[in-house]
Amino acid sequence: MSGSQAAVFGMQRTDEELVVLSTAGDTDSFNQLVVRWERPIFALAYRVLGREEDARDVCQETFLRAFRALKGFKGQAKFSSWLYRIALNLCRDWIRRERRTPMVIPLDADTEPAGLTGPVETAEELAVRRDLGRVITRAMTALSEEQRSAIVLKEYHGLTFREIADLQGCPLSTVKTRLYQGLNVLRRQLQRSGVQGPASIVGLPPTALMARSRRTVVDLDR
């Protein structure tokens, strides 16, 4: 049974099953993997690179490379970790090749941030969040690429310290140092921009925001 037929019958195949089918030449199965992972990979690239166009290019290139290298994937890691590794390498290459500062702040007011899973926001809250997004994007430019990647993988993709260490090819304590230093840099940058904390932004207690944040992470970490 091909991947598309499995989808019709409501069967949810695991990543690993879809990889096996894809390796046997079933492109439908591979496209199911694309559908499943394109949003997280795009989000990762966007937060590391800071530009939508570049993030889309990196995302597309990630799946193209994954498709070509699929036969070399022996299941030694989770498929998602393997994808993350490809995407992060592409991001790093892109930053080095372009030799320009990533994180160009999007001034386009039409760029709508993706909706959250929480309650419906008022227009005012949305505007505040959009402004806050720009502030965070600017603050992120002060981080090294390693710090930024570590924070993005931890905060938005829910990876464990060990998984991040494997992806970055460094010891566990280095990951924690990068997180610690990165969060402190962000703290100073945000304070400089007049952002004291989430409570001062949308009128919600920090714990409520953190709860929503964790739920988003769980959604991404399938």
């Binding site: 394109e38 939508e52 941030p113 969040r129 969060l183 962000l186 904390g197």
Partner: protein, 253 residues
């Protein structure tokens, strides 16, 4: 990069911040935070940063990348169902041969050749003389048995009708016998007639017994026969008469 000194080791602090410290480590950090305002302030600040980061969402980009197969088409798996929907000619032929073989096994044909005549006798022709196993009659009596005794009469009527309708058919030769007739040689007609005579006598006898056992059934049978006869003889005439009446009424207006 300047780094703020923390009394708590940064690894332990990060573990605590992300809720991944074990119980003992968590108790140690919390005990320290209660007595150290500097560390407590740092934890509050970093917690706020994490909360602020939640507002940073990627744009709603149109993605939709899909891999399409290259010029060389991938092998398309054909399901068993797909194969059987369009059976090949040789498959049909094989099925036909199999059918004949099964039919032959069931009917136990006997071929007699002698004195310029050839008789093909099927197994069912032999047993047909036994009324209890005659295929046409058997359903009639069974259908009667299966009729619930306490069922209302209006429900019983159609069931009986069915049973009776099967009766006359049972007197005729069964389809298998008919097929056997095709293979009969010309000299065997007399023998076949004798067989047929015996068969129809048995069937009639069985019907008679059935009818005697049930007066209602007898009445049904005669009523049905009368109705059929009436329809056959006068049905067309009546219909024509009714049509003419209608035409006459229409033209008179």
């Amino acid at each position: 990069m300047t780094e703020k000194n923390s009394c708590v080791e940064k690894d332990a602090l990060i573990d605590y911040l992300y809720g991944e410290a074990d119980r003992d480590a968590r108790i140690r950090v919390e005990a320290h935070l209660r007595g150290c305002e500097q560390c407590a302030d740092e934890v509050r600040g970093l917690t706020n940063v994490r909360g602020t980061l939640e507002a940073w969402a990627p744009p709603e980009a149109e993605l939709g990348f899909r891999v399409v197969s290259d010029a060389r088409p991938a092998p398309v798996p054909v399901s068993l169902w797909g194969r059987f929907r369009h059976p090949p000619a040789w498959g049909l032929a094989a099925a036909a041969v199999l059918m004949l073989a099964v039919a032959a096994a069931i009917t136990k044909p006997e071929l007699e050749i002698g004195r310029g005549e050839m008789v093909l006798r099927l197994g069912w022709s032999d047993t047909a003389s036994d009324p209890a196993t005659e295929p046409g009659v058997e359903p009639a009596s069974r259908s009667d048995r299966e009729t619930p005794a306490n069922a209302p009469p209006q429900l019983l009527q159609p069931l009986r009708g069915t049973a009776v309708a099967a009766g006359p058919r049972s007197r005729a030769t069964s389809p298998l016998q008919k097929e056997a007739d095709v293979f009969r040689g010309p000299g065997a007609v007399a023998a076949a007639a004798a067989d047929g005579e015996l068969l129809s006598r048995s069937a009639r006898q069985l019907l008679l017994e059935e009818e005697l056992r049930s007066d209602q059934r007898q009445a049904d049978l005669s009523e049905l026969q009368r109705a059929i006869g009436e329809f056959e003889v006068t049905g067309a005439e009546q219909a024509r008469q009714q049509l003419l009446d209608v035409l006459r009424r229409v033209s008179a207006r």
